[in-house]
Amino acid sequence: MATRFFRFAAVLLVGGLLAATTGAAGSAELKSGVFKPARPAPALSLRGSDGTELTLSRYRGKVVALGFGYTTCPDVCPTTLAYLAQAREKLGPAGKDMQVVYITVDPERDSAERLKAYLAGFDPTFIGGTGTPEQLAEVRKAYGIVVARENVPGSKTAYWVHHSSFVYLIDRAGNLRALLPFGVKVEDIAHDVKALLGD
């Protein structure tokens, strides 16, 4: 009689655990601000730093971290890219399904080649995007990215481009899922990417 009870309890326990783990798709608990409901990430078609056409559909099946910046940016962009590189490293083998895409806000200086050289300093898998000012303005509008150019007479940098510094997380199905604010911790980025990978 005791063994029957224990068998019943074991079934209950296993059943309970199974129920807890099989949540509805898209139920990942994230640390950063979430999009509710999730909506498709706006499509884009730009010139990729690898010399081919950059589209998000290329990365369907991976989690995409999409950011905006430029190669002359000294603090915000290197910090963002370094954190994303560290988060990808933290994921270990699962990191192969995390794709960072960085779109320039400075097409005048940031050619595909320049973006490639710059991003390689952080992680060889990072892809940059450039294009005409009009194409890039359209993408920024779709993603709510604001920029402000400031001329710096007498400086070798000539001008700065102040820009929104948050990063979007797009899931494997191509939906916008989270917004990472500037300065978010590496472990929180890794946590959210991992959650979306498992979603």
Partner: protein, 153 residues
């Protein structure tokens, strides 16, 4: 005569050492702790005049003395020019402005860190590779020049 000469020499050396020690003491009132630089690639091209990129150096400035001091400028051989900047958030944007000085009050410390104050390196002269170091000289109003080794991360 030899002994008095020797005595004079010893006295002279001691005086010089005391002088050196006191200027060390002045420098010691300001400390530059944990200087580090973000990794960066020197962007090369066939155009000799092309801009080679920017970098950032961070550190904690500690004023252990009784008198206020201020960081006025920075030089490094890792870039043509170094400026002091501050990142700040405004209107949904990350912005940046050059600052002419960073005051460090007596007994206080000021952090140069990502998203805040930083030394902006303009026109890199070399790659900044993680694990290596660069030499940076900070010029303070009172303490004068302080040379530090910044770890590249």
């Amino acid at each position: 005569m030899v002994t008095s000469l020797l005595r004079g020499l010893v006295f002279g050396v001691l005086l010089a050492a005391a002088g050196a020690a006191s200027s060390q003491a002045d420098n010691a009132k300001i400390r530059v702790d944990d200087a580090w630089a973000r990794r960066a690639v020197m962007i090369r091209s066939t155009d000799a005049n092309a801009f080679t990129g920017t970098g950032a150096v961070y550190a904690t400035l500690v004023n252990a003395g009784a008198k206020g001091d201020a960081l006025l400028s920075v030089t490094t051989d890792a870039a043509s020019v170094a400026e002091i900047h501050e990142t700040f958030q405004e209107g949904g944007l990350s912005r940046m402005r050059e600052v002419t000085r960073i005051d460090v009050a007596p007994g206080k410390k000021v952090e140069l860190k990502p998203g805040g104050y930083h030394v902006m390196l303009i026109n890199l002269t070399r790659d900044l590779k993680a694990g290596e170091t660069i030499q940076v000289t900070l010029m303070f109003q009172n303490a004068g020049r302080i040379a530090v080794t910044a770890q590249i991360r």
